[in-house]
């Protein structure tokens, strides 16, 4: 009977916690599911979700959130694949020292609530994968049987009203019950999602801009894409020098992929490089966008200047060597001619003398 009462009470609490975020007349930021159980070695995915006050016609376009978690669970990964946010001021980041997860992002023109008939709950901002501390051998394990993941009061949201009005947010935590033993089978839903993701990030293009009063008046590139499965993990940029100088491809062999984020100031400001941006999702699928700067925008790069200078120097050296060789050859020929003339003169003189003597 007591067990029955406890079960009914638990179910009622779960139901109440679930209902509260959707029924109150204010925007709310909540962690879903509010209750979960984690066996040793398993992992669970918690979603940070946003609800708006639909009755008031409220739309929210930016959120800055801070999640805190206790030491007895460990965040292992973050996914933005299902996020309603397209633009991130600060990508979700785990700070293991402070045991916080922070992010700041937004959706152009705002999120205005659930569309009637939508088959899924499409109000996710980020998903965080938590893992249990695992098995402890030799004692010393924590006695704590639950972990509460909370949203800090510092979390803020802004109305899509064109004036940056702060919204009064109701914040709801989530509780993870930690079971000491192992479950019937190892559960790692996130790993299954990663394994199932064979779709690369969405196509995107690279925009080339020149700073006017910003970016130190330098050329920079802008890029952004989404991956609707496991989410974009990182971007990498490569500046690959053009190949029109044939054998003189300075630095080409060393052009590396560099981890970067938009906006990215180009290293080759002469625009003589092909710019490639690679978006890689959490499953390792990638999409590479390419930008070949317009020829009219290019100026001489240092490698080109070096190439031209070397060519000129080589030509000058060749000409000098040729000229010197020509002079040397000519001088030698002259000397030889002179020598021959002298010899002939000597010969002539000798024969004349002989003739005189004969006479």
């Amino acid at each position: 009977m007591k067990q029955m009462f406890v079960r009914v009470f638990y179910l009622a609490t779960v139901a109440l916690l679930f209902i509260v975020p959707s029924s109150v007349q204010a925007a709310s930021l909540y962690i879903d599911p509010p209750f979960s159980t984690l066996f040793s070695g398993d992992s669970v995915t918690l979603a940070v979700r946003l609800d708006t006050d639909e009755a008031a016609g409220e739309c929210i376009n930016a959120v800055d959130a801070k999640i805190t978690y206790p030491a007895n669970v460990e965040p292992v990964d973050i996914s933005i694949g299902k996020s309603i946010f397209n633009i991130w001021v600060e990508q979700p980041k785990i700070n293991k020292q402070e045991r916080t997860i922070t992010f700041a992002g937004g959706i152009p023109n705002g999120y205005c609530g659930r569309v009637s008939g939508d088959p899924r709950l499409t109000n996710t901002l980020v998903e965080v994968v938590f893992r249990s501390p695992g098995f402890t051998i030799g004692g010393g394990s924590s006695d704590s049987s639950e972990a509460v993941v909370t949203l800090s009061d510092e979390s803020t949201a802004y109305l899509n009203d064109g004036r940056g009005t702060k919204v009064s947010l109701a914040l709801y935590p989530a509780k993870i019950s930690l079971e000491k033993g192992a479950g019937s089978a190892l559960v790692n839903q996130w790993q299954e999602e990663v394994d199932a993701d064979v779709v690369p990030p969405e196509d995107f293009s690279i925009l080339l801009q020149k700073g006017e009063g910003n970016f130190s008046n330098k050329y920079y590139i802008i890029f952004n894409t989404t991956d609707k499965q496991t989410g974009v993990d990182q971007y990498q940029v490569m500046e690959e020098p053009l190949t029109q100088f044939g054998t003189f491809q300075w630095g080409r062999a060393d052009a590396p992929w560099v981890e970067a984020r938009s906006p990215y100031v180009l290293k080759d400001q002469s625009l003589n490089s092909i710019v490639r941006v690679k978006a890689i999702d959490k499953a390792g699928n990638e999409y590479v966008a390419t930008l070949i700067p317009d020829g009219s925008m290019r100026t001489l790069s240092s490698s080109q200047i070096l190439t031209v200078a070397l060519t000129v120097v080589s030509l000058v050296v060749l000409l000098a060597v040729g000229f010197i060789s020509w002079r040397v050859i000519r001088n030698r020929r002259k000397e030889r001619i002179n020598t021959d003339d002298d010899y002939e003169n000597d010969e002539t003189a000798t024969s004349d003398d002989n003739e005189i003597h004969n006479d």
Partner: protein, 369 residues
Amino acid sequence: MRNYLYLLFLFVFVAVPLASFAQSTNIATTTLTISICGNEIVDGGEECDVLGETGVYSQTIAGRQCTASCNFGPYCGDGILQTAFAEECDDGNNDNGDFCSAICKIEPAGSGGGGSSGGGTSGRGGSTVDLGDTIINVIGRGYPLRTINFLLDTESVGTVRSDSSGRFEFSTNASPGTATLGIWTTDVDGTRSITLNNTFDVTQGAITNLNGIILPPTISVPNPNVNPGDTILISGQSIPSSRVEVHVDNSTIVETVTAGTDGKWSLSFDTSRVSVAQHTLRARTLTGNPPLRTESSFSTSIQLFVGVDGQATLPSDLNRDGFINLIDFSILIFWWQTNGGDSDPPADINQNGRVSLEDFSILLFNWTG
């Protein structure tokens, strides 16, 4: 159960005689429908009537349970998404192979589509199956003979021209997953509408229809700075012949006008009705009549400065190219957490001395893609 029997008693011996009395004296004609929950007979207004069932969640339609109030408890197949019971979807049936499985789990790509014989459950095999195009189809109404612009996940995906009744229809390919479709236009006077955003899930290989879109009206005033007591003309464009509600501040004053056949509407507003202060004006469109009345979401909020100074618009086009998009966002990020330096227009859009999330929010509000 005993309580229900008391209620039954009250209904039979009190309500029914009262109703009969009312009829006999010709005071009113009320028809009472009596239903008895707990008699194991499904009466009118009841979904079920099963003694001993508590209405706990069921994973099947067949196994659904009746509640104490003679309605069915939650179950997979009731067409309602119940995430509290780990439902990922609920398409109103217990069939596999239709993107939502028999136990209300999302069926990934390749698990079969449209009720065909696919039926597998492995997402990995899916990429080899031709599922057809994934399409979003939009049908709605806006202002007549205007170009309607569509943004999918911040990127412009096309335009369409509305007809003389303001009706428009648009289709676009989309990637499966969470999608946000934004719709905006300009009215006949060039005033930009608010971007109407809808966020929803797109199912792979299926057509997701978005019906009943009503574009909120445009709203403008000739001069946002007015003297107390002046009468101002608030105007805009809406669906032809629709009613337009103008809300002052937080709906403390609501005025209704009817748009013309060209969708244009206007309202003379006496500012002596409001205090000397800054006020907000917004409007929405009403179509149909109760109970089938439909209302749009609100228009852009505009500011009205009655007897006070103020700046009505906040520029967000940081590179002055006529669009507010990723380029402007990049410039904002360049000046992030600074005072905006000598940026012109200022990256510190709200001029509060720091480029921060408030400025980001304003930029996102003005986004054109």
